[in-house]
Symmetry: C2
Subunit: 188 residues, 2 copies
């Protein structure tokens, strides 16, 4: 597999459907089995924690990147931990270290992280794969929203393909491998 | 009106429905009439350009904040222009200067900007109003997406209220005035 390090964005709220946890754990095991290094937000709660723990316990490499202020609250970690000065440094480092992005379900923060790397791809700052794991159809709303943006002329038809959705973990790993950044991005 | 400066996020693609332009122009005139200073991304195309031009022509104050690389491409501007070194400095300055955020329709960049200030509100970094102008129901997809995030437990019920939608320009101005940041945000 040519993807060596993935950055995963996901929620950290604890009380969510078991299907989300099952998928996060399955992904963690699959990353370890495929020797893909996990870079993530460094939390120990919710899907973030489940994913990191599953990867680590299956023998995978895990690096959490967390801002000082958030680390002071929990003081817990899984695998390697990098403590950075703020949210901006966290994102910069998460992006720098990884060669693909995965979004599991999450809240406003996850949505923003996903759309930020999407915007950067559109601006041709990177050409890395961006794949959402569509557990319980969680990302259907985003896919509908983007489709409407395209229909209304605010996003080009080709750029709709910057974000790819996968229904299962095996499909997600395949999508990472066969990902082609759309043509027609900025400056192309 | 207590809001003195608004930061408006919106698209800059030219070929979109006239309704979007009409709303952008109506907003620009309303900002000028209410002596609200417009801070925006500094472009001259699409809704960005229409909004800035309408505000400026109606006697309003307009400040565009644009990264060097983008300015070099168009070399045009409306009102005052601040040229900054990169996208990050642009966002930081746009946020610093304004006391409310408005989103008109736009693409990935607009979505990301909107979700970034929403995430910052959730983290209690600011308590500024965030209002979307829902021309042609453009933001319905986002509102549905957020509602599903709440239902599935990734966003709290109260935090759904961080983003407010308005169907008309007068309703938007009212929403800015009566906005209450939800309780239960981070650290609250
Ligand atoms: Mg951002």
């Amino acid at each position: 597999m040519s993807v060596k390090t993935v950055c995963v964005f996901c929620g950290s709220t604890p009380n969510v459907h078991q299907d989300y946890f099952d998928h996060a754990i399955e992904l963690g095991k699959a990353l370890a089995a495929n020797e893909i290094h996990l870079v993530y937000g460094g939390g120990v709660k919710g899907l973030m924690g489940a994913l990191a723990q599953a990867t680590y316990e299956a023998g995978g490499r895990v690096t959490g990147i967390i801002p000082e202020t958030l680390y002071r609250i929990s003081q817990q970690s899984v695998g390697e931990l990098v403590i950075v000065k703020d949210m901006h440094s966290r994102k910069a480092l998460m992006n720098e270290k990884s060669d693909a992005f995965i979004a599991l379900p999450g809240g406003f923060g996850t949505l923003e992280e996903l759309l930020e790397v999407t915007t950067w791809s559109q601006l041709n700052i990177h050409t890395k794969p961006i794949v959402c794991l569509n557990t319980r159809g969680y990302w259907n709303g985003l896919l509908d929203l983007v489709r409407n943006c395209v229909q209304e002329g605010f996003i080009t038809q080709k750029n709709e393909g910057i974000i790819v959705a996968a229904e299962t973990v095996p499909a997600l790993l395949q999508a990472l491998e066969k990902y082609e950044p759309p043509e027609g991005r900025y400056g192309k």
